[in-house]
């Protein structure tokens, strides 16, 4: 380990870390928003769900590297535009989270839905204020998977020039400099663990009613 290199390059490392964070976080946020809309629609209009599943299934099988390279052609963006990475990861996040949102809504106990309907909730109010809050534990489980997956996939972007901490891997490999690779690896790992813990913490804060035993 070349500790001196780390100290000398701390500004670069910090810059890459911050880039890594927003490259992986923004797609989760936008992907979740898209998935909530599509998921609620698929939950409400049941016939739309099977074809939607086929579409998101196909999207998810596209290799990330292929998508990073194809997107500039399709969108007409520069190859080094971070938008390519953001859009690609948003597609993956959304594709995974649609399923999660529908699963979460499906897991709402029928008696709860029936009661809400019978007490006079309008449909959209019922979904937003009753069903989605109850689906939070399931949705957060999906968010954790997507967030960690994004953090690892951002590094792949380094192969086309934008990849946050992944750029430490590519350059470290090129010049056979182990310290750089290890720094990238450790920070990616720490970032993934921190993000995951943050989501767990958020879930605990938003769902105090969950994890209560019936005998408590």
């Amino acid at each position: 380990m070349d500790w001196g290199w780390i100290v000398d390059n701390r500004d670069l490392i910090l810059e890459l870390l911050i880039e890594h964070i927003w490259l992986s976080a923004i797609p989760v946020v936008i992907g979740l928003a898209v998935a909530l809309v599509l998921g609620v629609l698929a939950h409400t209009y049941r016939w739309a769900y099977p074809p939607l599943l086929v579409v998101v299934g196909v999207l998810y099988t596209i290799p990330s590297l292929a998508l990073f390279i194809v997107l500039p052609v399709v969108l007409g963006t520069q190859i080094l535009n971070p938008l390519n990475i953001l859009i690609a990861l948003t597609i993956y996040s959304g594709a995974l989270l649609v399923r999660t949102v529908v699963d979460g809504l499906d897991a709402v106990p029928p008696a709860v839905r029936k009661a809400a309907e019978g007490l006079g909730y309008k449909r959209l109010t019922r979904i937003v204020t009753v069903e989605l809050p109850i689906a939070i534990p399931v949705i957060v489980a999906g968010l954790r998977v997507v967030t960690v997956a994004n953090i690892s996939m951002v590094s792949v972007g380094a192969l086309i020039g934008i990849g946050g901490l992944g750029e430490l891997f590519t350059s470290g490999f090129q010049i056979r400099f182990v310290t750089e690779i290890i720094v990238g690896l450790v920070l990616s790992l720490l970032l993934a663990v921190t993000a995951d813990l943050l989501l767990v913490f958020l879930q605990r804060k938003t769902t105090p009613w969950d994890r209560l035993g019936a005998t408590a």
Binding site: A111, V112, L119, W209, L212
Partner: protein, 362 residues
């Protein structure tokens, strides 16, 4: 008042769930819809708040045709309690109870005050208001469900097997408490159950549904037991309906005779002696053959009855008494007299001939 006028429900696949049902659930009374599963009782209930729409016929709630009322508005004006409570797991007891007032945009402070009142009325403590449903027992959850249905003080309530999912002991106490509550609030209630005993216990009127969704009979519980309309109703209300019917016959007027009482330390009487304390409150029975009344030789009293109890309570008291004599107590709990089996039987025969409708005993 809830009125069904020739109501039918045919589902798109052709099954007839409800077949030409006409009935009236009177103002301030509890009307039970009972029958085997698949007889259309739940569908009938769901048509009142339009969770299901009628195929033909009309349902009127307080004179208004429900099909002419906006679904959401209609539902907010009708209390609704279901099996498994259907409480919102992510909201506290208080927030669950205030659901409908909040939907209606009522004053927050008033709503909370009312909610606390209701929480106590259904037998929970206000400390439980901040708890989540998962922290309550099944019986407590059902109580919250009832409080939630009452929160906006709707004149009409629909209850769909509300006590079916709790164990028998809890169910029985929920039923008793609910009857007391209904005495206070006097709602017009339509109550669905598959349990004939529950129907008989709770209903002012009981509507028995048969398979195919047709209404076999609607009557007071006493009349239903006394005169089932057909073989189906007779078999559905059960073999021991004669015994159960006793609970709708008053015991008042049965010929009690004075009790063979003695105090502790007194000489025993011939035959069975009823030991009493200084205030004439019963202590237990002393078997024949003893010289004096001593505490340690007393046999348990079994159950007792009062003037306001039914013949069923009196008969029960005879059956469990070691002496074959039921002890009647007055309002102060003092011995008022005893009655034997033969006297009860005579009284029963006489009152059956005058055919009481049975509501007096409740």
């Amino acid at each position: 008042m809830i009125e069904f006028e020739s109501v039918s429900k045919r589902f798109p696949d052709g099954t007839v769930a409800v077949d030409d049902v006409s009935l009236v659930a009177p103002q301030g009374k509890l009307t039970v819809l009972v029958g085997p599963s698949g007889c259309g009782k739940t569908t009938s209930l769901a048509m009142v708040n339009r969770l299901v729409d009628v195929t033909s016929g009309r349902i009127l709630v307080d004179g208004k045709d429900v099909s002419q009322t906006d679904r959401v508005e209609l539902r907010r004006g009708i209390g609704y309690v279901i099996q498994h409570s259907g409480l919102f797991p992510h909201r506290t007891v208080l927030d669950n109870v205030t659901t409908v007032p909040r939907l209606l945009g009522w004053d927050k402070k008033k709503t909370r005050e009312r909610a606390y009142e209701l929480i106590e009325m259904v037998g929970l403590s206000t400390e439980q208001a901040g708890r989540y449903p998962a922290q309550l027992s099944g019986g407590q959850q059902q109580r919250v469900g009832v409080a939630r249905a009452l929160a906006s003080d709707p004149p009409v309530m629909l209850m769909d097997e509300p006590f079916s999912a709790v164990d028998p002991v809890v169910r029985s106490s929920l039923q008793d408490e609910f009857l007391r509550l209904q005495d206070q609030v006097g709602k017009t209630i339509l109550f669905v159950t598959h349990d004939i005993d529950e129907a008989i216990k709770l209903g002012d009127k009981v509507a028995v549904f048969a398979e195919g969704g047709h209404l076999a009979q609607i009557d007071s519980p006493g009349d239903l037991l006394a005169a089932p309309a057909d073989g189906f109703v007779a078999s559905f209300v059960g073999r021991d309906r004669g015994y159960r019917r006793l609970q709708f016959l008053p015991s008042d007027g049965v010929g009690v005779r004075s009790a063979p009482t003695a105090r502790i330390g007194d000489r025993a009487l011939d035959g069975w002696t009823l030991a009493v304390d200084g205030d004439d409150r019963p202590l237990g029975w002393l078997a024949p053959g003893a010289d004096s009344v001593t505490q340690d030789r007393l046999e348990p009293l079994g159950s007792t009855f009062t003037k306001t109890d039914s013949l069923r309570a009196a008969l029960e008291a005879v059956l469990v008494s070691p002496a074959g004599l039921a002890v009647r107590l007055d309002d102060d709990g003092c011995v008022d007299g005893v009655v034997d089996h033969a006297t009860l039987a005579e009284h029963h025969q006489a009152s059956s001939e005058t055919a009481h409708s049975g509501q007096e005993s409740r």
